[in-house]
């Protein structure tokens, strides 16, 4: 069933010493597969916290500007469509579910379901990016760019306010509204780049899954890519209310 190790005996004899002492996936600088797994997991968590610090810089910019110039945020919020933002939130939550189910499938040696769930995760990610593309291209045409390039096209000023409320539609435009969009594009753009990178990693794991690399004995790469993907979802969970639900 699994073409990996010559001495792999599935389920019947218990673990023979030969297979146990040197499974194919065990790198030579680790003395047990458990140590290898724990090291990999530690490494991924350390990387994830560097990602948290990475984004915290931009969240800091958001916090500082929103606390010192709330009028910019309240005014600029009308240009964002909360419905699209909410849809994207649901899309990413679905992708996190399918990713978690994919990891579980690898843990239980269900190769077919692993491939299915990884593919679904990729599809959800693609949907997320498509919605972001729709949002970005609309803003591009409406002249809603960053910093000094913020020149709203006449007639396009009042983009849909997704929740139907009239909140924040002041007629007087405050100074430096472009600052909001600088923060918006930096945050969502950086997040989008992370989605792209995640899609690349998931694609690689998918190829390996189709190849039959993963099973209950060795599923670490699926687990760790899953951790990264959940973090990307986590970041969006915070981005959505901060950017789209300002009143």
């Amino acid at each position: 069933m699994l073409n990996q190790t010559a001495a792999t005996v599935v389920g019947s004899q218990g673990q023979e010493n030969h297979e146990q002492s040197h499974p194919r996936f065990l790198a030579h600088h680790f003395h047990s597969s458990e140590q290898q797994f724990d090291s990999g997991k530690l490494g991924m968590w350390l990387f994830l916290i560097t990602e948290v610090m990475f984004f915290s810089g931009l969240f800091c910019a958001y916090a500082v500007y929103r606390s010192t110039h709330p009028e910019i945020f309240i005014y600029a919020h009308q240009f964002l469509d909360a419905k699209l933002g909410a849809t994207n939130t649901i899309v990413l939550l679905c992708s996190s579910l399918t990713m978690a189910l994919a990891v579980r499938s690898a843990q239980t040696s269900q190769q077919k379901m692993l491939v299915v769930y990884l593919t679904l995760t990729l599809i959800f990610a693609a949907v997320f990016l498509s919605i972001k593309y729709v949002e970005y291209s609309h803003k591009w045409h409406a002249g809603l760019l960053w910093a000094g390039d913020f020149h709203p096209v006449a007639g396009h000023e009042h983009a849909h306010d997704g929740d139907g409320q009239d909140a924040g539609k002041t007629t007087v435009m405050p100074r430096d509204v472009g600052v909001f969009f600088s923060i918006y594009y930096a945050l969502t753009g950086l997040h989008g780049i992370h989605i792209l990178g995640g899609m690349g990693a998931i694609t690689w794991i998918l190829i390996r899954a189709v190849r039959g690399d993963f099973n209950a004995e060795y599923y670490a790469p699926v687990d760790f890519v899953g951790l990264y993907w959940h973090l990307v979802d986590l970041i969006w969970i915070f981005l959505f209310p901060l950017l789209y639900l300002i009143h």
């Binding site: 389920g11 797994f37 915290s56 810089g57 800091c60 909410a86 939130t89 209950a216 959940h230 209310p241």
Partner: protein
């Protein structure tokens, strides 16, 4: 004796807890419900409390994702410690920067207004 899993022994040899489909679906359903609550909350007029409300719910969602999807609940406590530390440092970073920025706002505003005249 061995159900649908092929080599259950080895997955547990890694001391890795395998989540039940029920727990994953339950977490997902809770996350969706909290998203709906966030959206509903944004339609209410909570004033300045709004951001604490939405960030509070986002934090609950984050904890759920971390505990169940990222299985921190069944992970080594050291990994949990790393995560907690990073959040603490991020909070210090943002908190102190905001205190600093707000401390000079009156002078900045006075200067900006005088420049605009």
């Amino acid at each position: 004796m061995h159900e649908s899993t092929v080599t259950p022994i080895t997955a547990h040899a890694n001391h890795e807890h395998i989540p039940s489909i029920r727990s994953l679906l339950g977490t997902f359903a809770t996350l969706i419900a909290l998203t709906v609550v966030t959206l509903y909350g944004s339609t209410l007029s909570l004033g300045s409390a709004e951001i604490w409300f939405s960030m509070g719910i986002a934090s609950v969602k984050a904890v759920l994702v971390a505990l169940f999807f990222m299985h921190l609940k069944h992970d080594k406590p050291f990994n949990v410690l790393i995560v907690v530390f990073s959040l603490a440092f991020a909070a210090i970073f943002i908190g102190l920067t905001m205190v600093d920025a707000n401390a000079y706002q009156t002078e900045i505003n006075t200067y900006v207004e005088s420049e605009l005249k």
